[in-house]
Symmetry: C2
Subunit: 271 residues, 2 copies
């Protein structure tokens, strides 16, 4: 089985390393410097030249590049092509916009780091993590089963199945909104000289503030409606606390906190 990982950044590099650890031989494609490092380290067996010889192609490129790559590349007949973008609806739409000779499966590994690039990739990045597989009525079931088997061997701890639309709605909230809040949170001037004035809440709130604006603007705008809706919801909820503070209404404020605490307790029971 010939496998290609296109894009050897943090995620793609980690996929190559994790696949290698699982016993697969993987080829890679990226800029020349990255490729020579990946070959030297043994993360990839060879540099891909003809993309049409692979049984499985993992596309680990930024969203716009991933869509273009899938759209324009000549893959082998019946090849399994799986992207790992953080939004799935737009990729799926682009893939199914015309007939394809390959079998597409949308994937999104639920893990990452605050740093990027091949040099930060690691074979154990996916250990115990969740992998989301998006499907619709056109999805080839054998392709999904083949990938699932590989994902388990790569160390993923949980595989979730859903539609691209369900994925995008969930991710707008669990990940995209969190990154926006974190990115906005650091902008207060009061943050200067915070050292010694926090026991961890501030660090947790701002850990993911430093997003790469190029990649994340693509992700956000491919999921604009969902993200806007979640952001409006949060602004609406936060506005209630501000109102209660302004009015000096302690009871209303306590009721807001209680509602959030009870909601948090309910969510904790889902774990």
């Amino acid at each position: 089985m010939k496998i290609l990982v296109a894009g050897l950044g943090l995620m793609g590099g980690s996929m190559a390393k994790s696949l290698k650890r699982a016993g697969y031989s993987v080829d890679g494609f990226d800029r020349r410097e990255v490729l020579s490092l990946a070959v030297k380290e043994g993360a990839i067996a060879a540099v891909a030249e003809d993309f049409s010889v692979y049984d499985i192609v993992f596309v680990a490129l930024p969203p716009e590049a991933a869509i273009r790559f899938i759209d324009e590349t000549r893959f082998a007949q019946n090849a399994v092509v799986a992207d790992i973008c953080g939004v799935k609806g737009e990729v799926e739409s682009a893939v199914y916009a015309k007939p394809r000779n390959f079998r597409y499966v949308g994937c999104h590994p639920m893990t990452g780091k605050e740093v990027s690039g091949y040099r930060n990739s690691a074979e154990d990045l996916f250990d115990g993590a969740s992998m989301i597989v998006t499907e619709n009525e056109k999805t080839d079931e054998d392709a999904v089963r083949l990938l699932e088997d590989i994902f388990v061997k790569m160390g993923f701890g949980l595989i979730r199945h859903c539609t691209a639309q369900y994925h995008d709605k969930k991710i707008a909230y669990t990940s995209q909104l969190a990154h926006v809040v974190s990115n906005a949170y650091v902008k207060s001037r009061t943050a200067d000289g915070y050292v010694g004035f926090t026991g961890g809440s501030f660090q947790d709130m701002t850990r993911i503030a430093g997003v790469d604006e190029k990649v994340w603007t693509q992700l956000y705008f491919y999921n604009r409606e969902n993200l806007a809706e979640e952001l409006e919801t949060l602004l609406f909820e936060l506005g209630k606390y501000a109102d209660a503070l302004r009015r000096g209404d302690r009871e209303a404020f306590a009721a807001l906190l209680k509602e959030g605490r009870e909601r948090k307790e309910k969510l904790d029971r889902e774990k």
Copy 2:
């Protein structure tokens, strides 16, 4: 040296245990069930009966109770009385509202847990944490030095000095606002069924959502102006992202993300 810890919840219980580990003998005061457990476990040497016999009294009660306790208790002449409330301005004002025969020092240990109560207290809770000591022109320097010596022996890793006003402004942002955001964040209906749809961002964002509304409403309303200002700042900043999304303005959105990333990188250099 006779030491009392008044209030043996998560923080007070941990103080008693940490003081004991450091070689001090400590008496305690709390509800009867807590006291018998603390005596049985050896966290306190004895139950306090006459509060006027102690050289040092740590007040680890909720804000309103702490202020009342300090105001109404007869302490020994020159006793060092230190509260550990999460707001300092209101406590300090209440203390200095009339002449006192004791020496007051405001303290705030920068650590905690998402759970409360004596049963969750631990001798190592303060290990490596920061302790903020608030002072003004009336503060007794010997009392501060005495406490600092004890804090170092308890395991604190950093001691910061500032005024109560500076403390309250910083804490409104690094801690209080973070708890409000977390408490509001969980309220989206999209949170239901989040398991498998997050790699950690959601957990970090919502870890501290479950605040005790009774204690925290007290803390928030003792620091209402500062918290309101920080919350308005965050609402203003978040509103810019919502506007850019609504307008479909990718460049503006990317610029907002870039500003946040650069700010985060600047703050990380402070560490």
